[in-house]
């Protein structure tokens, strides 16, 4: 079976600064892959390229059968297959939790009001926030907002979920409630690519870990490499992290 995400020799620069220098990797269906590395190693840029929030200079990216590196790609089709959750939640402040979740199903997939509400209830139950359906984002804690953001993505029934440092703005307790939700998704077989600084979490749920360094994969393998790193760079990196 073809992989859900495939990068082949991907290059990307911001101005004169090269960020990705020929990145290649694949994510198979049902796999949980953690992208780790220092700030500036290119991991977030790589993740954003998957959903074409950044365009690449060279190389090929294929996601769920869509040729993302093709300038003529139908973006809205790609984005129906890909869910992404950001560090800053990005909930729409003027809409209730239900409206945040049902906006895209209703406007993009033309779901009727009743089935959209049922969908909102379903995904909110998945993230453990059923009772917050009528709340506004500002009435929620950071952890709850991030869980709603996850629910909002899930409501589009994506084939792969991307997480971009989703707990970096949260304190340890709120981080834990968000990680539990992600862990549960992993258990249900969701394909996921996560950029994270939570090494313990990566060591717990990742099927595979990719350690990026200076725009390239420096070391990759099962989650065990976090405990037994081979390269001195990963050794010093996890030495701080674990």
């Amino acid at each position: 079976m073809s992989p859900i995400v495939s990068f082949r020799d991907v290059h990307k620069s911001f101005g004169a600064v090269p960020v990705l220098k020929g990145l290649s990797f694949e994510v198979q269906k049902g796999e949980v892959v953690a992208l780790i590395g220092r700030s500036g190693s290119g991991k977030s840029t790589a993740l954003r390229c998957v959903d074409r929030l950044e365009t690449v200079d060279k190389g090929e990216i294929i996601v769920c059968g869509h040729r993302v590196s093709d300038p003529k790609i139908e973006l809205r089709k790609l984005r129906q297959d890909v869910g992404i959750v950001f560090q800053s939640y990005n909930l729409f402040p003027h809409l209730t939790v239900e409206q945040n979740i049902t906006l895209a199903p209703r406007w993009v997939k033309k779901a009727d009001k009743a089935s959209a509400r049922a969908l909102a209830q379903e995904v909110l139950a998945q993230v453990g926030l059923s009772e917050k359906i009528d709340a506004y984002p500002e009435q929620l804690s950071g952890g709850q907002q991030q869980r709603v953001a996850i629910a909002r993505s899930l409501a589009m029934r994506p084939q792969v979920m991307l997480f971009d440092e989703v707990t970096s703005a949260l304190d340890p307790q709120l981080t834990e409630e968000v990680l539990k939700v992600i862990e549960e998704l992993a258990r249900q077989g969701m394909t996921m690519l996560l950029v994270t600084h939570e090494m313990a979490f990566a060591a717990r749920i990742a099927d595979r870990v990719i350690f990026m360094h200076e725009g390239l994969i420096h070391e990759t393998g099962s989650r065990d490499i976090l405990r037994n790193p081979n390269t001195p760079e990963l050794k010093s990196f996890v030495g701080v992290g674990l």
């Binding site: 809205r76 869910g83 402040p93 003027h94 809409l95 406007w107 506004y136």
Partner: protein
């Protein structure tokens, strides 16, 4: 200083004042609604990727904001007439006021749009919403809620500015007052009464905007917080 006030004659002219008042209200409401819509269109166009569109909107906004309203009304009323486009004074006033307030609305709404965090738009894009859906569901509602107080003030100013339409013979309240004082030679009383009526209109408009805001911004009504 032995001026003795006498307002009694105003009773005879009340119908004229009432007609003027009614036209002032009509001009204000029509120009507010049309100018608001024009302002939204221009504000969205000013964030467009098309350089031509952005240039055209910039030209329009700067032309209007840097010339007097009176001159703009003259251009519409007399200028277009010499091109064969003849409108009544009232229609010309509505057109001129709309063009004028549209430019100010556009600038205010554009400021609101620019204050929106980029992540909001990115989140909308990533949910597979189209560009127009993002604008309609996310960008405009939040932008307008943020700048609503500034817009409301601008529309109250517009209402006061409708008095200038008297100069192109639109029979609004100030024009009616001018007529009455030239009949009665009692300008002090007439214009004091007119001033009081404008004051009441201003308060009325602010109340109206408050009510519209309560209706339009559900979250603010429920939580009482600003975005």
């Amino acid at each position: 200083m032995d001026y003795s006030f006498d307002f009694s004659f105003l009773w005879d002219y009340w119908p004229m004042l009432a007609d003027g008042l009614w036209l002032t209200i009509q001009l204000s409401l029509m120009a507010t609604v049309a100018g608001f819509l024009l302002g939204i269109a221009c504000a969205v166009a000013s964030t467009s990727r098309s350089r031509i569109l952005r240039g055209l909107v910039g030209l329009y906004v700067e032309l209007i904001r840097n010339t007097p309203l009176l001159v703009q009304l003259f251009v519409v009323y007399f200028g277009l007439a010499s091109l064969g486009l003849k409108f009544s004074a009232t229609t010309s006033a509505v057109i001129g006021l709309t063009i004028n307030i549209g430019a100010y609305s556009s600038e205010i709404i554009r400021a609101g749009i620019e204050s929106i965090h980029k992540g909001q738009i990115e989140a909308g894009d990533c949910l597979a919403l189209s560009r127009w859906q993002v604008v309609a569901a996310i960008v405009l509602p939040t932008a307008i809620e943020k700048v609503y107080p500034a817009l409301a003030s601008q529309y109250v100013l517009l209402m006061l500015g409708t008095s200038i339409a008297s100069q192109i013979s639109a029979e609004e309240m100030t024009a009616a007052a001018s007529r009455i004082q030239s009949d009665t030679f009692r300008p002090f009383e007439v214009f004091l009464v007119i001033a009081a009526l404008y004051l009441l209109l201003s308060f009325g408009m602010r109340g109206l905007f408050w009510a519209v805001g309560q209706f339009a911004f559900v979250r603010r009504r429920k939580l009482g917080t600003t975005l």
